[in-house]
Symmetry: C2
Subunit: 446 residues, 2 copies
């Protein structure tokens, strides 16, 4: 959606843009934000893309992901809270893309099966499955943008004896809501955002006991009663998990919060990122353009602090490379750029430095295009304050409000605290909002 918007933006300023086709295997856009109740494979037999669950609220302040050229104020016409639920965020990204009139460029229910590059002609032949009409298509393209993200194919490691566990065993990718874990003893394997968020969501929905098992280090939040952390799982024997410290517990259900794979089954391996999830995957010039073949570009291939606005910064950069407004340096110069960023990245030792690294990365991109520069340092501060809020109270951080660096608008405090709000619908979220004035009064100091 960022790429489509980027080209539309250039077009609206009178630039000539190439013919663009976007193949989307789902029936609608929105990617991760396009919630589905299905898990596994979908009604076409394709792997389900979205890892979204029913009651998800943004786990970072919306002020840190706001588009610089389509603000929350513009979309909603009034201040909203800092941590909107999924329907509201989908509405925001859908609103921008719909406003741009780019939906006609998207072929929905089209899965790319294979991408073949011809060195001689410099063109790609894409083999595509028109899932609804059951037709196979081939089309030629000059450039390819991979905009699938890398949080759609779960990493599902094996655990000794897990096949004997009698309860539900799913990956976070298949988690669609915690209601069913009320009264249950839940084991979450993993020590990052999925475990944190599914953990407190399950606590909110009445899980009897939430145990999070970490590999490298505990998350260390001030967990409420009934939630705690243990070391790595050594083995399962029926419903009992034993941990590497020798302790063991019984569980009713297990959720693997073990991350995702870079997996691009529609690309030859020579064109596929093969990296752990980090802030600078190897092989991408400026984090987007595939070094081995600079006619392939990836958006959002990084681990992410910044999200929507980073995708924009990348999309505008890639657009200008494709339009020839940005000249790609030769392979050696590109490699020097990659190496320099990797060198800087190797010096990143904590989360604060990581956020700053990503801000610097985005700044570097925006400086080369006409995407509106925004106060990246202020967003870094927002991230750091968010982290502090979480340390203070993992159950209340979503009740805090932040100021937009794009518009200066102070977010309202949501009418209901996150822990008490069971109706996450857009309707409920928007209909019962207090007035902006009331909200200003209620908001914590910025």
């Amino acid at each position: 959606m960022a790429a489509l918007r980027a080209f539309k933006s250039a077009e609206s300023r009178g630039e000539q843009v190439p013919d663009i086709v976007c193949y989307e295997k789902q029936d609608d856009w929105g990617g991760q934000w396009n919630f589905t109740w299905r898990t596994g494979t979908d009604h076409y037999g394709e792997p389900v893309h979205s890892s979204m669950y029913r009651n998800l609220w943004s786990n970072g302040p919306k002020e840190a992901l706001e588009f610089a050229e389509y603000t929350f104020d513009e979309h909603f016409g009034r201040p909203i809270s800092s941590y909107p639920p999924r329907e509201v965020l989908w509405d925001y990204i859908d609103g921008r893309a719909t406003q741009s009139g780019v939906k006609d460029s998207v072929l929905f229910a089209h899965a790319v099966r294979w991408t073949e590059y011809d060195e001689a002609t410099g063109t790609f032949t894409l083999t595509v499955d028109d899932l609804k009409n059951k037709r196979s298509l081939t089309e030629e393209f000059d450039e390819v943008i991979v905009a699938t993200g890398h949080f759609a194919f779960p990493n599902v490691p094996d655990f000794d004896g897990i096949e004997t566990f009698p309860g539900e065993v799913i990956h976070a990718h298949e988690f669609r809501g915690a209601e069913r874990f009320a009264g249950q003893r839940l084991l979450l394997i993993g020590g990052s955002y999925s475990a944190e968020d599914i953990g407190i969501q399950s606590h909110k929905m009445g899980a009897r006991q939430v145990t999070m098992s970490y590999r490298s280090a505990p998350q260390g939040f001030a967990w409420p009663d009934g939630v705690d952390e243990v070391p790595q799982v050594a083995s399962f024997d029926g419903s009992t998990a034993t941990f590497v410290d020798g302790t063991s517990r019984e569980f009713d259900a297990v959720i693997l919060c073990t991350g995702y794979l870079h997996h691009y089954p529609f690309l030859p391996h020579e064109s596929q990122i093969d990296s752990p999830n980090n802030l600078y995957p190897e092989g991408l010039y400026r984090g987007v353009t595939w070094q081995k073949n600079p006619k392939i570009h990836y958006l959002g291939a990084q681990d992410q602090w910044f999200t929507f606005n980073m995708f924009d910064a990348q999309a505008w950069f890639v657009r200008d490379v494709i339009l020839g407004r940005i000249e790609l340096p030769d392979p050696q110069a590109r490699q020097e750029s990659i190496d320099a960023w990797l060198e800087t990245y190797s010096g990143v030792e904590d989360d604060a430095a990581a956020v700053r690294f990503q801000a610097d990365y985005i700044r570097d991109l925006i400086e080369q295009t006409d995407y509106p520069m925004f106060d990246l340092d202020a967003v870094v501060d927002t991230f750091l304050a968010w982290k502090k809020d979480k340390k203070t109270d993992i159950l209340t951080y979503r009740d805090q409000a932040y100021r937009s660096v794009m518009t200066g608008t102070m977010a309202v405090v949501h009418h209901t605290a996150w822990i008490d709000e069971l109706d996450d619908s857009r309707e409920r979220y928007l209909s019962s909002q207090p007035s902006a004035d009331e909200a200003q009064d209620a908001a914590r100091p910025a």
Copy 2:
């Protein structure tokens, strides 16, 4: 495995056979019988193939699926019961294939990405993903055998309001055991084998209430208390399902027993079967050879009464087509054959006729090859007796014993009734078997 065995059989009789490569996306063979605890996508990011669950026992007598040239007696060295659990059946098919020495022909952890046919050269170019080594390969072939089956991609229709259902919603493909449904109210949507078997399995494992919802007709077995059938689901509202007869019930979990899709993402649609699940999918000469391109062959594309021995009959036939021992008629003659079979099939009006139809189909294939003919009418009788056993008591039909038409051996009665046996392991199954004499005494009259 049937195809590999077929070619090996010809080779061992001194025939020249072509170079064969079998691409298998899993780490081991056995297809549906290769149990995995995983659901959704696997450790490589590939859709999980097997729909097997932990405690599955064969749902038809093994005497109806026995290989004609590798008997249960030959493999186990003594009589076993008629309804072995999954590990035992896997052992049987693995034993035959291992004995044949064909494992070297299989490239495991290799997923076929795309299959391109060149009309001019008459060859296929396969694009393959070597999942372990993260390499993309292309290889040329003269003939392609599609042996994936068609029970790996679930059919997951939508239901009004299902996204509001707070409990677990899975497809039968993702069902790995019923232990976790003890004490729960379970809705199974579907009126065929998946619903029947998961239904009684869940009853066995202590589900409080099992409701099966049919679309066309109830299964009509004498269900035990706590198991019953209702018409189609009209809608969900939270945990309440309302049925088309206006009644409604609350549920803790939903399992879609809604069948599977013919889905072959590695083939162009022009080479893909597009059919409901039936005994004679259109477009396949003799049920195996693709009419539009007779260098493509499908094994096991039918709905199945007969299974393993039907796959053999098909594999031997396809082998002989490829070896030139069977001459393919011209397209028009092939179409006449297809039409004649479809015409006969259109007259099939009940299950007994369907079993006979499939027996006739298999007989027709075996008559053309050196696969050992077996008493297909006797197997039809076994199927009809099995159906009668099920009507008599759906909870005890697996305790009955049948006589092998291949060896004349009478099956033993398993030492423990199905409803009481909670340890389905191969070890337990084989270690505590009574002697064959005891078993003969205990067995019901054939």
